[in-house]
């Protein structure tokens, strides 16, 4: 890990971090990635790629409409709203 990568990640996560916080995270993330890197040492040549270990497959539902929330319920916890819509800062 280097500082540029941590800055890139913080941008993707939309986190505004101070230079000190970035430095702290650089140290922590480097240690975490190093720990995860240990996994690379395991021999997985005989193991199928696995996305889930729950053992479930094909869990699907019929295409049927179920009641939705009322608009007031859906917006109940929204900090800002306007004319039934969620009001958010514009993307710059």
């Amino acid at each position: 890990m280097d500082l540029a990568q941590v800055e890139h990640l913080s941008r993707l996560a939309r986190l505004g971090l101070s230079p000190e916080e970035l430095q702290t995270l650089l140290g922590q993330l480097t240690a975490i990635v190093a720990a995860v890197d240990k996994l690379q040492e395991a021999d997985v040549s005989s193991v199928d790629p696995t996305a889930q270990v729950g053992g479930l497959y094909d869990v699907m539902r019929a295409d049927e409409v179920a009641p939705s929330l009322e608009a007031e319920q859906a917006l109940a916890n929204a900090p800002r709203k306007e004319a039934g819509l969620l009001r958010v800062p514009a993307i710059q």
Partner: protein, 484 residues
């Protein structure tokens, strides 16, 4: 410098015509609903809510993939595509990354009467985002308004190979794909309302070179016309840059209808790192071979093959076939009219002409209009047999279209059947010759066009019921010129 060759690939997003959303029971039809009235904990991304896959969406995607001759792997899964945008409530879109529902197919389309094929990389399934409304100018307003009615609507993505070689091919590819989706009944093909959307990847390379140039993604094209205009502009822009020795920047550009130009969106959407990972809330899919076979068996005749067959089977023109295969229901109606005894060419003329005009004006599909295929066949047969005049038939068709009556029954009811009775025809011919002696003399003197007014007089006297061909023949006999 070697001639530059455009390399174009299209990514098409199609909302599926399911009843409910991709992972919850909210309605998939969201247009016209009050804002934020079509949501639930799942599509709002509330903590603890779990998605469940809509079986119909999976089947529609597999049907589309099969119609595009794709391979359906036995194992497929969903992944999270992570990015932040206000129309994406969960902070990620459920999509498919490395194990999509289908791979490696192709789409046939036509350009200037020539058949071309374009590779299909994959067809996969994901969910749509909500919609953003901007107060005032998008660039100056400091807030946006979010409606999540559309969030979670099933979205199928058809990724095309970069096999297109000119901006002109792109709308033709898209037309063929759109028609196929309509045939399959999986999408309504409405580009204006955004239920069918198209992005393009565009690059240039010297003709003959294998490796690709720097790729630019072009977005925001919501019609066939704007797709071709945007690609023409973008190819021109890149050509100009290369010829001036400058480099192409890999970026996303949006088509601006106002400026008729592609505009860089770099500032707004920087190159993204989506950090895909397997969706932990959705167990993977094992797509059974029986299901694939069953879906394959239920596929409709694809438009291209249907056109070939109609052209082969009936004596109708290529233009007529094109009109009659706009939708599968049009072709089915036509074949029903022919099966009910109407001659194909006349049936095609009547369906694509007067009947389609009536349907368009009334905004109704031909298979739902009040004229059944059997009724149109009866009318067409009567016209062809000379039992009723074309103009009378047209009027009756319009009237029956409104009232729901049978046009052929109206002919009998109103006594509008064309008269071919010899004695009656002779009487009308006598009258016409008496009324227009000058026209009669002119015709006998060799003026062919003098026959017109005489036939007209008979038509008038008969209240439009006299068989005009028979009238003309009788007049010719009566006015037989010497030596004929």
């Amino acid at each position: 410098m070697a001639e530059l060759e455009p390399v174009i690939g299209l990514e098409v997003h199609a909302q599926l015509l399911t009843k409910s959303k991709m992972f919850c029971g909210c309605r998939a039809e969201y247009l016209g609903l009050p804002p934020n009235s079509n949501t639930c904990p799942t599509c709002l991304g509330l903590p603890g809510a779990l998605p469940v896959i809509n079986r119909a969406a999976v089947e529609m995607t597999i049907r589309t993939a099969l119609a595009l001759a794709c391979r359906i792997p036995e194992f497929s899964k969903f992944d999270r595509k992570n990015y932040f945008y206000p129309d994406l409530p969960k902070g990620y879109q459920i999509s498919q990354f490395d194990l999509p529902l289908s791979l490696a197919g192709q789409l046939e389309f036509e350009v200037d009467g020539q058949r071309r094929a374009c590779g299909i990389t994959r067809v996969h399934l994901e969910e749509d985002a909500g919609t953003l409304h901007h107060a005032g100018e998008i660039h100056t307003s400091n807030f946006s308004l979010v409606d999540l009615n559309r969030a979670g609507v099933p979205l199928m993505e058809v990724v095309g190979e970069p096999d297109l070689r000119s901006p002109r091919e792109a709308p033709q590819y898209l037309r063929a794909l759109r028609q196929l989706l309509i045939y399959l009944g999986v999408n309504d093909g409405n580009m204006e309302q955004g239920s069918l959307r198209c992005d393009a990847n565009v690059s240039l390379r010297p003709r003959g070179q294998r490796e690709m140039g720097v790729k630019v993604e072009v977005k925001n094209m919501n019609s066939f016309r704007s797709l071709e205009a945007a690609l023409t502009y973008e190819v021109g822009r890149q050509t100009d840059l290369i010829q001036r020795g400058m480099t192409i920047v890999q970026e996303t550009r949006g088509w601006s209808e106002l400026e008729q130009a592609t505009v860089s969106q770099r500032g707004k959407e920087e190159a993204q790192d989506y950090r895909y990972f397997p969706e932990p809330d959705l167990p993977p899919l094992k797509v059974g071979r029986e299901l694939v076979e069953q879906l394959k068996a239920g596929l409709p005749e694809p438009p291209m093959r249907l056109r070939d067959r109609l052209l082969d089977q009936y004596e109708i023109s290529a233009e007529q076939v094109l009109v009659l295969t706009e939708r599968p229901q049009d072709a089915a109606y036509f074949e029903a009219v022919v099966a009910a005894g109407a001659p194909p060419r006349a049936a095609a003329n009547w369906q694509a002409g007067p009947l389609q005009a009536l349907c368009k004006a009334a905004r109704v599909e031909v298979e739902r209009c009040s004229i059944s295929a059997g009724e149109l066949a009866d009318l067409v047969r009567m016209v062809e047999a000379g039992e009723v005049s074309g103009s009378t038939a047209r009027e009756l068709l319009a009237e029956a279209f409104e009232s729901g009556a049978s046009p052929a029954a109206l002919v009998t009811e109103r006594g509008l059947a064309q008269v071919s009775d010899a004695a009656q025809m002779d009487a009308w011919v006598d009258d016409a010759l008496r009324q227009l002696p000058k026209a009669a003399a002119d015709f006998q003197a060799g003026a062919e066009r003098a026959l017109g007014p005489l036939v007209g007089a008979i038509r008038k006297a008969s209240g439009n019921r006299a068989n005009p061909d028979l009238a003309a023949r009788l007049l010719r006999e009566r006015l037989a010129r010497p030596g004929e």
